[in-house]
Amino acid sequence: MGATQNPQQAQKTAERLGAAPKRAAPQRRSDEPSFQELFHAWLESHRASLVDSLRRLARQPVGSFFTCLVIAIALALPMGLALLLNNLERLGGSWQSAAQISVYLKLDASDADGERLREEIAGMPDVAAAEWISREQALAQFQAQSGLGQALKDLPENPLPGSVLVTPREIDKVALEMIRQRLAELPKVDQVQLDLLWVERLGAILKLGDRFVFGLALLLVLALLLVIGNTIRLHIENRRSEIEVIKLVGGTDGYVRRPFLYMGALYGLGAGLLAWAVLAYSLDWLNGAVVRLAGLYGSDFALAGVPTADGLSLVLGAVLLGYIGAWLAVARHLSELAPK
């Protein structure tokens, strides 16, 4: 966005137009600005562009707010979905860690056999915990949960086997299969049940969700660039005569472009902050219902809010999108703004 003239180029042009040529070892005249002064002037010029852009946005507060809101909604949608997916993955992860292997013993296995087997299994390196459930405990649980209490009491003998409930350290399909095989080879073991199909299904759904969010984000980024580009185009149209004058008095494309880039970045900043606020509020609002639902399933699961790092990335991304959108819009229309 350099608008200041290259000093060598300026001198060359000035000399051609009649200015006195510089000597081989030029002495700086006392009234010529120093490098430091020129640097301050360059900074001042950027500050002026930023302040001017802010003033122009503040002059139309309602219009500026709604533009920011449109951009914020477009930003919040994929970001919100991504956050919900993250929460689902977290929930899936906690279910995964709760995945257990049921080792059913033969009916003739005694409680002592079961307890011995539990100790052996608990000593395995890839097993986090093992719990012995006797035939009597299994029947009592089944009676309580099935509602068939009287019918089960009428049975001549307990049909349920004793079992060891095994919690593995890691949920890995191959590793779990190996544990299952090892458990099946143990004495007195009748059957080993490992059901991870639902975990796989959940994983596949989450992967699909990730792709959907990525695709949606791409489409919305494109839409955002169009929204910002169109907004900046309107600003350019409103300042057409000013741009023509600036170009006539020697303003470079960079000088003309600068305030619009600041404006695009400011739209992005406003939209990013607004999107962050919308997301934080929406997740908080949803969380009440989620906590109640999770409580009904005996879980203490709660939605995580917007992490600060994600929020900052959202704002930074929005600023960048605003900047790029403005740059594309100015690049597209600058050539049409030749002075007349």
Partner: protein, 222 residues
Amino acid sequence: MIRFEQVGKRYPNGHVGLHELSFRVRRGEFLFVTGHSGAGKSTLLRLLLAMERPTSGKLLLAGQDLAQITTAQIPFLRRQIGVVFQNHQLLFDRSVFDNVALPLQILGLPKAEIAKRVGAALERVSLADKAEQYPADLSTGQQQRVGIARAVVHRPALLLADEPTGNLDPRLAAEIMGVFEDINRLGTTVLIASHDLALIARMRHRMLTLQRGRLIGDGEAA
């Protein structure tokens, strides 16, 4: 300083703006370009400002061929030229000071330097007390003087003016011409496109006369 060698300008629709125009302007000269509407006065100024390029011939401005100039070089060329328009082309949402300061801001000069030069330029056009006002608060003559201050504030080597007195009464027009002469006396080459022959005659400077894009007269106004 300016050299037109067989310069022609033909537009895509077939209209010919200038026919093989040839003349030279020395550094520090004061000259008028005159002719009826459509004679080619504005085309000539547009070529000098690199707003258009000649379609034939050679147009040299301080040795630089304007037919060959790159788009990136154009702003730097224009920084050495001051331009005054008939309709002033002022920015009405900026104060007089900010309007005049614009070329200096583009040059990236420090604030103090800008204030000094703008003050001097406004002093030269007798508008030092109007710096904080807005163009809409000024009379047409004062607006034109703001335009002149903006055109000379960056000390250009060449000052171009397109019908600068077109909207002014004779007294104001003479006053504005007086300002141009003052600027010329400081060494700036001044080229004014005007069809006000009476005013031109009073000033006794060199005059180029155009008719339908051809140069039909080159001499002192009488």
